[in-house]
């Protein structure tokens, strides 16, 4: 009986594989791969990204697809694990034969597959932030989030205007945190700002009062925290509890209203640079990004019943750029798509206006970011300081 059951299992698995692989051989579709951290520690990035991309692809397919062909989207959940990202990349390229890949969600994963995509000559549009993804430039690797260095420069520029000279830096011990800390340390001297103390903490840290006590003992004018959740909401809470009344700056990773909710009243006054998606309603109507931002925001929010985050926006830009490139190239050859991507210019996305060039695979300028703050539990422009 057991043997029979085992045999039955094997047969059904084989049949299932055959039937699914038959489905994949459907002619005339455009196969696009996506790797996102839908579950795991970075799921707050990957989940909205995956939802966004699915939504966009459904819309495009309903409207007739690209150049008359339907898009077949293959999403892989890497759970923010670089090893999984590597094997999924190989699988997408070799087995699924995708024309391009979007994602991964985190910088650490993206750095692991950068060379892989380059050697297989598959266009990759990453939704991860670290500058190292496009610096040095790899021919096939692009990214949609704004560069870390812009973020660091915006923070320092704002500090200059506020008369802040000495700061403390805390960053999560992750690819994103370490890259950000590096950028801050690199550009601080240019703006005449002195970093008195720089520390990294475990990315899953639950209480940082001890670390902030150490910072408090230094004579600093402001704190910069560069991390993703949960620390982004813990640092402001812990600072208030310790009675540290100096300004807190955060990275563009703070771009989700949920973090403001999690930090509650402690979030008031946090200053951070971000794309304009978060304040789309407050933009003047003539702003070139407004229409796009509002379209994505209302579609996402009505479909999923949750607030948009800049992360979903990065994935939105990634898929839209690929679609634009395929339309432009009018070809499904990976090299043609790459060339078309590189020649995209003045393309309005949620992160800014993209203009790629052979030396710039991020395509965004300093003006893609806006300094924001939290006022009455809402994001708002930082003005008059």
């Amino acid at each position: 009986m057991k043997k029979f059951l085992a045999a039955l299992l094997v047969i059904s698995v084989v049949l299932l594989t055959v039937s699914t692989s038959c489905k994949q051989k459907e002619e005339g579709t455009v196969k696009i791969g996506a790797i996102f951290a839908v579950t795991g520690g970075a799921s707050f990035l990957g989940a909205p990204e995956a939802r966004t991309v699915e939504m966009v692809v459904d819309e495009i397919n309903a409207a007739g697809g690209i150049n008359g062909k339907q898009i077949e989207l293959i999403i892989k959940d890497s759970a923010a694990n670089p090893e999984k990202a590597i094997s999924f990349t190989k699988q997408l390229i070799e087995e699924d034969k995708v024309v391009a890949i979007i994602g991964p969600s985190t910088s650490g994963e993206t750095m692991q597959i950068k060379d892989l995509c380059e050697s297989y000559k598959v266009p990759l549009v990453a939704a991860a932030a670290a500058e190292a993804i496009v610096d040095p430039v790899a021919g096939y690797v692009f990214k949609t989030p704004q560069k870390d260095s812009y973020v660091a420069k915006w923070i320092f520029k704002t500090m200059q205007s506020m008369g802040i000279k000495r700061i403390g830096v805390v960053a999560a011990n992750s690819g994103f945190g370490n890259a950000g800390k590096g950028q801050l340390e690199k550009y601080a001297p240019d703006f005449g700002i002195e970093i008195l103390i720089a520390e990294t903490y475990d990315r899953a840290a639950t209480d940082l009062t001890a670390l902030l006590t150490k910072l408090k003992a230094q004579n600093i004018d402001a704190v910069v925290n560069w991390s993703i959740v949960p620390a982004q909401s813990i640092v402001p809470k812990n600072m208030k509890q310790l009675g540290m009344d100096i300004p807190l700056f955060q990275s563009h990773g703070f771009g989700n209203i949920k973090y403001v909710e999690a930090a509650g009243e402690a979030a008031e006054g946090i200053i951070f640079p971000a794309g304009r998606l978060l304040i789309a309603e407050k933009l003047p109507d003539e702003h070139p990004q407004k229409e796009n931002l509002m379209a994505y925001k209302s579609a996402y929010e009505s479909k999923f019943g949750e607030d948009v985050s800049t992360f979903g926006g990065h994935a939105y830009d990634a898929i839209m750029l690929i679609v634009e490139a395929i339309k432009k190239a009018d070809s499904l050859e990976r090299t043609d798509i790459r060339d078309a991507l590189e020649s995209i210019s003045g393309f309005p996305g949620t992160g800014g206006i993209f203009t790629f060039s052979p030396s710039d695979h991020n395509g965004l300028g300093m003006d893609s970011l806006e300094m924001l703050t939290v006022k009455n539990g809402q994001f708002d422009f930082l003005k008059g300081e």
């Binding site: 990957g46 989940a47 990294t200 899953a204 639950t206 001890a210 150490k214 813990i234 509890q241 009675g243």
Partner: protein, 296 residues
Amino acid sequence: MSVEQVLQYIFAGITVGSIYAFVAIGYNIIYNATGIINFAQGEFVMLGGMIAYTFSGLMPLLPAVVLAVLITSAVGSVIESVFIRRMRKTSVLGMIVVTIGISILLREAALYIWDEQIRALRFFTGSEISSVNIFGARISPQVLWILGITTIIVAGLFLFFKFTLTGQAMRACSENLRAAKLCGIRTDSMVNLSFMLSAGIGALGGCVVSPLTQTHYAMGTDLAIKGFIVAILGGLGNAIAAVAAGLLLGLIESFSISILPMAYKDVISIIILLIILVVKPSGIFGSRQASSMKDY
């Protein structure tokens, strides 16, 4: 270092230590009754915080916390009667693997029921920005809640195990399951009770720490590891020693941050664990004779 700073580090250490202790107490209760290390303990903490957050939108905080504790206890009871009871014949090691499986199950279920977002329960008193000044050191009022509830739980457990018939029966089960059965103790219900108790305590912990640490569906794993270190450090099977060990580890971590970069914090706690395991395998507060009677 000034007095205020020393105090500040002490408070930071105690806060973190109490969180570890909550998890370690749960390990010990189940270990005592069954000899199993339940690696789903961190998930009980997560469930407590998540359920309380959901209910806190519908009702005041106190009933929300009570409901969260009751529901999580029920989950603990179901886990015991569905999985653990049916696998009595499996080796202890096999059972531990089962608990790891359960922890994954609970984590995925939480991801399905809620989502990947972080949540924070509102503060029991005050808000995110209120702080209490104690001799120049400033702490959140929530820290006082954490300390108070830890103390109450420890005292309650001590009295329960020492003086109540049920508590004594549970201890008897841990000494020798068969002998306990021969004495007329209903060992099945005792084991079930131990799961309910540790799930409930974990959930209560999850509720009190949530305003500070926030709750996230995947938070259980890290807590389980730290709680396990603390349980070993104190000597397995001793809930009160676990609290002492938790506070000790919290303080060591906190003061290590004052001297070394914070990146070394976990290295230090692991080194301490290794030293203790080499020098005194039964834990700081464990007795050598007692540990030689145990399976591992």
